[in-house]
């Protein structure tokens, strides 16, 4: 019962006890809130009838503090709930009766209703009773069909009339054509659209729009132009699984962060970004074909995450090799425009491409990043890539290695290159590296990896060469929390081995937080 955990010792001093004695088993638990036992019996016998039938004598009045909170705070609490839960609070007591009708946030995003029609009816009923004149959030997640169009139009109209700040239409299975009046809206600051049809007849005027997320919809260049031109305050743009374009020019004076997630079309994507104020960029997900990805004038760019895969169907090793030749060019060009970035996150696939470039002795651009994160499976084909990245990042101060699972092996390389010797040969060039490296964090060092030679090789190398290293933290939160005993033992054994490696930095500490 939940009550037990709420500092019952504090309660007993404030609650007033009635005179009637309790049954013996209760009296021994002097600090046990009596109400809980009462209501336990009540709730098992009935569902919602109040606890007026008292079986054990007068109840200690547990204070109903929540109802004493002012309306504004209760509405803040209700704002976090989905509409269904918020509406249901209406039956709690008289105080709560119509409180929910003033909640400024309406989220119809739970999956309670099985049929779209029921969901639509529920939304209609809520909107009928709702009384707040201003909405901060209006979100609907529903499976759409064309019959619902008039109703969804009404909901959008309701939201815009209430000067909503954040509007989310997350639909599926069919496309909903946005009503024209929505394209001229001066109040909305965040828009999220999934499976919507965006086709403004005239200009787009979203003067307050700061965040825009477009998922699973068709995006044409001229529509994108209208949107970007009409959103002079846009700071965050996310395009996820959008299609119907092969080339995208993202031009915005105000944009600070861009997320480009996945792409699936017949022709390879050409992406060009012209955003002088852009600070953060993420290129993630699966790209079924990428020809070019360039950022013009990336002087403000601070943080970049390149964690994508360029996928292609190939039938034999030769096709695989050709595919990777193309990828090398894309990755190199991309990294060239990232050379001023301070914080870089490189995903496992990009790391593998860097590995290929490295063993082929192709040059990689030098990076100025201070904080470098690598996502790697610590398999043999990551080694040249890791080496190449470290070699090209002389100023890195914090290195984070995130070990993840990967089943992506580059078999065509196996017969040509020997990755370990490649690493060892590079060690000669490493002498001048890692001048600035102060902190290393390694996550995901789990049971599968403790025998991995690559992991041990890398750690040994870092300890041997990082002259100003202060701290190396190696963790595996999942294993530690779940306390699987023999894993912990193996972990200990490996950690002892790692601790025994020589360190060039006198102040270096290796920490295994347990």
């Amino acid at each position: 019962m939940e009550e037990e955990s709420y500092g019952s010792s504090e309660r007993s001093s404030t609650s007033s006890e009635e005179s009637a004695p309790y049954s013996t088993d209760n009296s021994s638990h002097a600090t046990n809130p009596k109400n809980s036992e009462e209501e336990e019996e009540e709730s098992s016998s009935s569902d919602d009838y109040p606890s007026k039938r008292r079986k054990l004598g007068p109840i200690v009045e547990e204070e109903d503090r929540i109802s004493t909170l002012p309306d504004s705070i209760l509405l803040t609490i209700l704002s976090s709930l989905c509409a269904k839960d918020a509406v249901r609070t209406g039956v709690l007591s008289k105080r709560w009766a119509y409180l929910w009708t003033f909640v400024p946030s309406l989220r119809f995003t739970d999956y309670y209703f099985r049929h779209a029609a029921d969901r639509a009816n529920f939304v209609d009923n809520v909107l009928l009773l709702h009384r707040a004149s201003k909405l901060t959030n209006f979100s609907v997640e529903v499976e759409y069909n064309p019959e619902l169009k008039p109703r969804v139009d009404l909901w959008v109209r309701f939201a815009t009339t209430a000067k909503v700040d954040q509007l989310s239409l997350l639909l599926s299975s069919c496309f909903y054509k946005l009503p024209q009046h929505l394209y001229a809206n001066e109040f909305v600051s965040e828009l999220n659209f999934r499976a919507c049809e965006i086709k403004p007849n005239g200009l787009v005027r979203w003067s307050s729009l700061k965040r825009l997320c477009l998922w699973n919809l068709a995006l044409h260049q001229d529509v994108l132009n209208k949107v970007l031109l009409g959103s002079p305050r846009l700071e965050f743009l996310e395009l996820r699984n959008c299609d119907k374009f092969n080339r995208l020019d993202i031009v915005s004076e105000s944009l600070k962060k861009l997320v480009m997630d996945s792409y699936d079309e017949d022709y390879p994507l050409e992406l060009e970004i012209v955003a002088p104020k852009i600070e953060s960029l993420e290129i993630i997900g699966d790209f079924y074909g990428m020809k070019k990805c360039q950022i013009k004038n990336a002087s403000a760019l601070v943080e970049v995450r390149v964690d994508f895969v360029i996928r292609m169907e190939y039938e034999d090793e030769e096709q695989e090799e050709d595919h990777y030749k193309n990828c090398e060019n894309v990755v190199r060009e991309l990294f060239e425009s990232l050379n001023q970035v301070k914080k870089l996150i490189v995903g496992r696939w990009c790391l593998k491409v860097l590995s290929i470039m490295s063993v082929k002795h192709l040059s990689s651009p030098v990076l100025n990043c201070k904080c470098l994160t690598m996502k790697t499976s610590m398999e043999k084909w990551d080694l040249p890539g890791i080496a190449s990245l470290l070699q090209n990042s002389p100023y890195v101060e914090t290195l984070v290695i995130d070990i993840i699972f990967s089943n992506h092996d580059l078999e065509f390389l196996d017969r040509i290159y020997d990755e370990v010797n490649h690493w060892k040969s590079k060690e000669v060039y490493f002498k001048s590296l890692l001048q600035c490296l102060k902190t290393v964090k390694i996550f995901g060092f789990g049971e599968r990896f403790h025998t991995k030679d690559v992991f041990i090789l890398v750690v040994e190398f870092l300890l041997k060469n990082a002259k100003v290293l202060e701290k190396m933290v190696i963790t595996e939160p999942w294993v530690m929390q779940n306390g699987i005993h023999n894993m912990q033992l193996k972990f200990l054994q490996v950690s002892q081995k790692l601790l025994s490696f020589p360190r060039i930095s006198p102040h270096a500490v290796v920490i295994f937080p347990f």
């Binding site: 249901r88 008289k94 984070v400 102040h507």
Partner: protein, 246 residues
């Protein structure tokens, strides 16, 4: 005294304030307490470590948990802080008469306090008649932690790393609100009065999470809400709201 299950890191960081040498103590569950070196040296153990040399980064094992560490450091801090006049401090006085001296920047996490200070009305102490000492100390803890996190010079590891699904601050917040209901509501009221948006959002969300997915009767039980409907009224209310329960 060394116990392998815990670790405390002592590192010497010279922050913006170059006059006082500071030292960071980190407890076993990851919480950092930055204190003046002179303050930390109240502990003989730490004093010896510092005096023995290489302390740009040191690991020592102490079987100290967060609460213990904080109570000992807070006692120490209150003794010494009066001597340290370099960082601008402000005194907050709780409803039950206890005074808390905090950095002005930390106190300004509260918009209410910020306005008082900016209006020039904070001479000696800022009285907070609506907040008890127990709650005020927790609020200060929250403000300190969030102020610290905001000013982190080391690039923080974001939630991109697949194995740490939440950033350390979120984890701290989750632990922070694991309190009994009474304390939680007191925190809500304090956050509202002091106008600390982050804390208000956090505590309100916690209450909302306690309501999620529950039937009305379950909610009544959780919060001891008295159902003041007569049986007839209740039936009527039920019928009217039937559409919400289908």
């Amino acid at each position: 005294m060394a116990s392998s299950s815990t670790s405390v890191v002592v590192s010497n960081k010279e922050k913006e304030n170059k006059n006082t040498k500071k030292v960071t103590l980190k407890s076993s569950d990851g919480e950092s307490f930055e204190v003046d070196e002179s303050v930390a040296m109240e502990s003989q153990t730490i004093k010896h470590i510092i005096e023995d040399g290489h302390y740009s980064s040191l690991a020592l094992s102490l079987s100290v948990k967060t609460t213990m560490a904080s109570s000992s450091t807070s006692v120490v801090v209150s003794n010494k802080e009066k001597e340290n006049k370099n960082t601008k401090k402000v005194t907050l006085k709780s409803s039950d008469g206890e005074s808390f001296e905090v950095d002005e920047s930390v106190a300004m996490e509260s918009q209410t306090i910020k306005h008082i200070i900016e209006d020039g009305c904070a001479n000696n102490e800022i009285p907070l008649p609506n907040v008890t000492s127990g709650i005020l100390s927790r609020v200060i803890e929250y403000c300190k932690k969030h102020k610290e996190a905001a000013g982190e010079s080391e690039p923080s590891v974001t939630s991109y790393t697949s194995n740490s699904t939440t950033n350390p601050l979120t984890e701290w917040d989750t632990e922070f609100v694991k309190v009994d209901q009474n304390t939680l509501f007191d925190l809500i009221l304090a956050a509202n009065y002091l106008d600390i948006k982050g804390l208000l959002d956090l505590t309100c969300k916690t209450v909302a999470d306690m309501m999620k997915g529950k039937t009305p009767q379950e909610i009544r039980e959780t919060f001891h809400i008295k159902n003041d409907y007569t049986p007839e009224e209740e039936a009527e209310v039920r019928k009217e709201n039937q559409w919400a329960f289908e």
